[in-house]
Amino acid sequence: MVTLKPSESYVRKLVEEKVRIDGRNFDQFREIKIETGVIENAEGSARVRIGNTMVIAGIKADVHEPYPDTPNEGFIVVDCEMVPFASPEYEPGPPSPESVELARVVDRGIRESGSINTEKLCLIPGELVWGIHIDLHVLDNDGNLIDAAALAAIAALLTAKLPLYDPDTKKAVYGKHGEKLPMKDRPVEVTIGKIGTTLMIDTNAEEEAALDARITIATNEDGNICAIQKGGNGYFTTNELEAAVDLAIAKGAELRAMLPSL
């Protein structure tokens, strides 16, 4: 059921009084649930709920030619479908800019952290490699989609098993799961929202309607930064950026602790 949106100005007024619309602390997540293995047909899958937000990630692997500049490495592709029942604002049709951005930001966290050993995804050097499709299905959008999607993606990857490879047909054999994906890191993304001069994590849909700007910071197992994306029509100062990085590192560690181990 749709909840009535408190007006943007009400959210902003509360924030000025240092209160969040749902009573949380500014550095506090809503309840997070991670379920893996929810889709048997997928090589790996995860359903992540952050409050009322729900995203499913499914991993499919297939045999492909490598990209010309990395002839001995497999590759990943991230796609995002925002199912139109996830938000009254969504419409059927080609991916919106928001959907494209989401997929690309999740992709960068996984790719730039080096979390997948793509060299181990090579089947025949220069000829055939595993292509890993990460499909994100946004099923319920109550804010903070990027963090939920990134979390679903890495949880699905960490529990994924490749299909078998049949050297005779040079094709994948599905339904008989083989080795685990060669994972090297567990990047997570934390998005920090800004309303007025206040920073907060895990914004819900009401808060996002009132947001000045947001910044998504992906961090890796070492606590280093591996990707950043600023969004929204506002700005960040240097001090705000530093505070955001600190939040991302600390809260990223919290998220990582919920993930399956490497």
Binding site: M1, V2, T3, I39, E40, N41, A42, S45, N52, M54, I56, G58, I59, K60, D62, D79, E81, V83, P84, F85, A86, S87, P88, P92, H133, D135, H137, L139, D140, N141, D142, Y174, G175, A205
Partner: protein
């Protein structure tokens, strides 16, 4: 025809199907109502590994305005397979198959929706197959009926659906993946509640008139069983819960 790649030796062994079921037995059926928070109504329906999720948006003002119907709500159905729902990844986006299935599901539901109660609006049904193991259109249609009920859209009664078929010469209820791929006949049927009103019917494969009439009978009985389960679940959710009493 030569045996297809991947076909099992037999689909019926000692009177039992590959998953151990008898011919006239459903796979485990799982129903959840109201699983989505932002949709106006939602439901999940599973036949074994076939997993469908339905969400209703609306009734809401139809856009663009110039295409509004002053007499009734415009119902649109969008059936889609998640890319990870199948063994080989399904390409996202509309296919001819999904266009056809959306059409026949829409026509089936048209029998029960009081669209004239909501002129100038649109009711959008989005049906997502999260996992596919045959009978996906039946699962999607059942989820759709429940989601409409959950959304409070006025309907005459629930449309309910199941599949029947023929494998290794045996007539069966609730066709599963390998039975669909390597069997002789696959037929999807939907009825209004447990009435003798067939609102969806699609069949592939060669069959005699007599076998067809038998399958129709099996399907109607199957739909009746599903109707009972769906009603029970709605009752449990909307009538039997203390939360509602307090409302």
């Amino acid at each position: 025809m030569s045996k297809k790649v991947g076909a099992p030796e037999a689909l019926i062994v000692d009177g039992k199907r590959l998953d151990g079921r008898s011919p006239n037995e459903f796979r485990p059926i799982n129903i959840e109502i109201g699983t989505l928070k932002r949709a106006n109504g939602s439901a999940e329906f599973r036949f074994g590994n076939t997993y469908a999720l339905a969400g209703v948006m609306g009734p809401r003002p139809f856009h663009p305005k110039a295409l509004q119907d002053p007499q009734r709500s415009i119902v649109r159905v969008n059936y889609a397979m998640a890319p990870f729902s199948t063994k080989e990844r399904s390409k996202p986006g509309k296919s001819r198959r999904s266009t056809e299935i959306s059409k026949v599901i829409n026509e089936a539901l048209a029998n029960v929706i009081f669209a004239e109660d909501y002129p100038r609006t649109g009711i959008d049904l989005f049906l997502v197959i999260l996992q596919a193991d045959a009978s996906t259109r039946c699962a999607a249609l059942n989820a759709a009926s429940l989601a409409l009920a959950d959304a409070g859209v006025p309907i005459r009664d629930l449309v309910v659906s199941c599949s029947v078929g023929k494998v290794d010469g045996t007539l069966i209820l609730d066709v599963a993946g390998l039975e669909d791929n390597f069997g002789d006949v696959d037929m999807a049927v939907a009825t209004i509640a447990n009435q003798d009103k067939i609102v969806l019917l699609q069949m592939d494969g060669i069959i005699t008139k007599e076998e067809f009439m038998t399958l129709i009978d099996m399907a109607k009985k199957g739909c009746g069983q599903i109707y009972d389960m769906m009603k029970a679940k709605l009752y449990e959710k909307y009538v039997a819960t203390p939360a509602e009493e307090g409302a």
